[in-house]
């Protein structure tokens, strides 16, 4: 039982990170559910129909998701704010309907037969991505993303390729979501297109908002709270959407500009300002 809960918590952490990575360059993506679905089905087809073993299948699934993200992202990442929200929402709906209409992967009935993933494999994935993200947050690429997010004009004037940066984070986000989807599918043994509803994408974004986007631990916190607490407190489980919604509202109302505005460590405490 507890292994189940931990597994879903870890999947949600991966998804929350995938939203966080896209958000690093200032884009809010509601398409992570779609990329998760693509990863899940891709890995499922590879292991069930082509007898791949789990590890390469999961990696290929992540790669497939990020390829799709690159293809869709190239014309769309230039859009801003509301427009990008619309396109990514549309992507989620489209992927779901597409999956429902392919007989090869089971259609509406669902697709089954995947096995092999367990708690340890997802823990390893979380660990690897955690280390990678931590390394990333220390490196210069993080500064590039920060610049693009805070002011695109300034970034462009510094010679940063804004579109490429946004595309890169979009693809990396899709990669993480794809891997989360692949592991999810192989743990559940059977998935249906309706598992990857619009609501899932919305929830994942709200995990990140709840936890905070200041650093990589915020999404972890949000995902853990919203996945684990309802399992142990009955009242939380019953009123989950309400409590979730109210706490998000509260956070946004208390810190109206704070939650989507990153707090740069370099600006906050002058002592650690890098004077290279």
């Amino acid at each position: 039982m507890i292994a189940d809960h931990l597994f879903f918590a870890c999947i949600n952490i991966l998804l929350a990170w995938s939203v966080y990575v896209v958000l690093l360059s200032g884009n809010l993506s509601f398409a992570q559910g779609a990329f998760m679905a693509l990863g899940c089905y891709c890995a499922g087809v590879l292991t069930v129909k082509f007898n791949f073993s789990l590890f390469p299948a999961v990696l290929l699934a992540g790669g497939f998701s990020s390829l799709v993200a690159l293809a869709v992202g190239y014309p769309t990442v230039k859009l801003k704010g509301i427009y990008l929200i619309l396109v990514t929402l549309g992507l989620t709906v489209c992927v779901r309907v597409l999956l429902e209409n392919f007989k090869f992967i089971g259609g509406v009935g669902g697709f089954g037969g995947m096995t092999g993933a367990d708690l340890s494999s997802v823990l390893i994935a979380v660990f690897i991505f955690g280390v990678l993200l931590y390394w990333f947050s220390r490196g210069s690429l993080q500064r590039v993303c920060d610049t693009v997010r805070e002011d695109e004009l300034v970034a462009a004037s510094l010679g940063i390729d804004v579109v490429a940066t946004k595309l890169l984070t979009f693809a990396v986000g899709a990669f993480i979501a794809g891997i989360a989807g692949a592991l999810y599918g192989h743990y559940m043994n059977f998935v249906r297109p309706e598992n990857f509803d619009v609501l899932l994408s919305i929830y994942v974004v709200l995990y990140v908002v709840l936890g905070g986007v200041n650093n990589m631990w915020g999404p972890v916190l949000g995902a853990l709270i919203m996945t684990l607490l309802p399992e142990y407190f009955r009242i939380l489980a019953e009123w989950r959407p309400s409590i979730f919604g109210l706490s998000i509202l509260l956070i946004l109302l208390v810190r109206p500009n704070g939650i989507l505005r990153f707090r740069l460590p370099t600006l906050k405490d002058k002592g650690s300002f890098p004077h290279e």
Binding site: L86, V87, G90, V93, V97, W239, R240, S242, I248, L252
Partner: protein, 294 residues
């Protein structure tokens, strides 16, 4: 048969238009995306159920408009009042999304997730009329009629009255409007009231048509209306009206040609393509210029 389907599509499209109009009003005037809108649309059906058990249909229509409008005011107060600057556009969208979650959850706690059936319709709506060999219930014409009346009323409100002038001024530039002595807060309350009222009205009409109210249509039907609004152009009222009708008819045609399963997707594919090619939407005239909001 074909004409019958097209007429059905038109009735569906009329309801899409109503919801899309609400979205577009708020985007056009206040430049905010209201994600509580689909849920108020969903709640309109339940208001319809309650009011129809006590009141005749025309009164129930008025009640659902008023209740929807009041909910719109509450939404404005909770989720939008604090996020006025253009920087907090996305924050406002997220907070309204959170409010929508709370809203749906409360409705589902009270009425459950199953569709709830409506009380019996009055006799004058139950009759059928024969057109081109297909029987049409009067109800369809009733729905089209109500939609037409609402749209004409909205058009004349925006273009003929004093409040409409204020609304257009705020849409042009909130700062300039406030300098000219227009109460921007009042205007935004009025806009929220009208737009949410329209959504609740559409929800009621939809529940009349399907003879039941469903607490889960908010995300499917409501988000589709959002997409339609984007196709027509963000903030363009004519685009929302025509886009809704057009999508209704296209969906009906898809059903005729046996492509019914792709219906959910068509509108979103059109959105993505529109956004890639012409992000300002298919219609270029609007309450507010594109450059001002980008």
């Amino acid at each position: 048969m074909f004409i019958g389907q097209v007429l059905n599509g038109l009735v569906n499209g009329a309801m899409y238009s109503l919801v899309a109009l609400g979205f577009t009003l708020i985007i056009g005037v206040l430049d905010k995306l209201n994600f509580t809108h689909p849920e108020i649309f969903m709640f309109g059906g339940f208001v319809g159920i309650v009011s129809m058990t006590y009141l005749p249909v025309p009164w129930a229509l008025i009640v659902s408009f008023l209740v929807g409008g009041t909910l719109g005011l509450i939404t404005e107060w909770i989720a939008f009042r604090r996020f006025k600057t253009s920087d907090s556009k996305i924050t406002a969208a997220l907070s309204s999304m959170a409010l929508g979650l709370v809203f749906t959850d409360c409705v589902q706690k009270y009425w459950g997730t199953e569709p709830v059936s409506l009380p019996a319709l009055p006799a004058w709506l139950e009759k059928n009329v024969l057109i081109a060999g297909v029987e049409f219930p009067y109800l369809n014409f009733f729905i089209l009629g109500v939609t037409c009346v609402l749209m004409i009323a909205l058009h004349s409100l925006i273009h003929k009255t004093r409040m409409g002038r204020h609304i257009r001024a705020v849409a042009e530039s909130p700062i300039n409007a406030s300098l000219l002595g227009i109460d921007v807060k009042r205007v935004s309350q009025v806009v929220f009231f009208i737009s949410s009222g329209l959504a609740a009205e559409a929800g009621f009409l939809l529940s009349l048509r399907s003879a039941s109210a469903n607490s889960e249509i908010g995300l499917t039907f409501g988000l589709k209306a959002l997409a339609i609004m984007a196709i027509g152009g963000l903030g363009d009222m004519r685009g929302a009206m025509l886009g809704g009708l057009l999508i209704g008819i296209i969906e009906a045609c898809l059903f005729v040609f046996g492509l019914g399963r792709w219906v959910e997707m068509t509108v979103w594919v059109v959105v993505i393509v529109t956004m890639m090619i012409k992000p300002s939407g298919l219609f270029s005239t609007r309450l507010r210029l594109m450059e001002a909001r980008a």
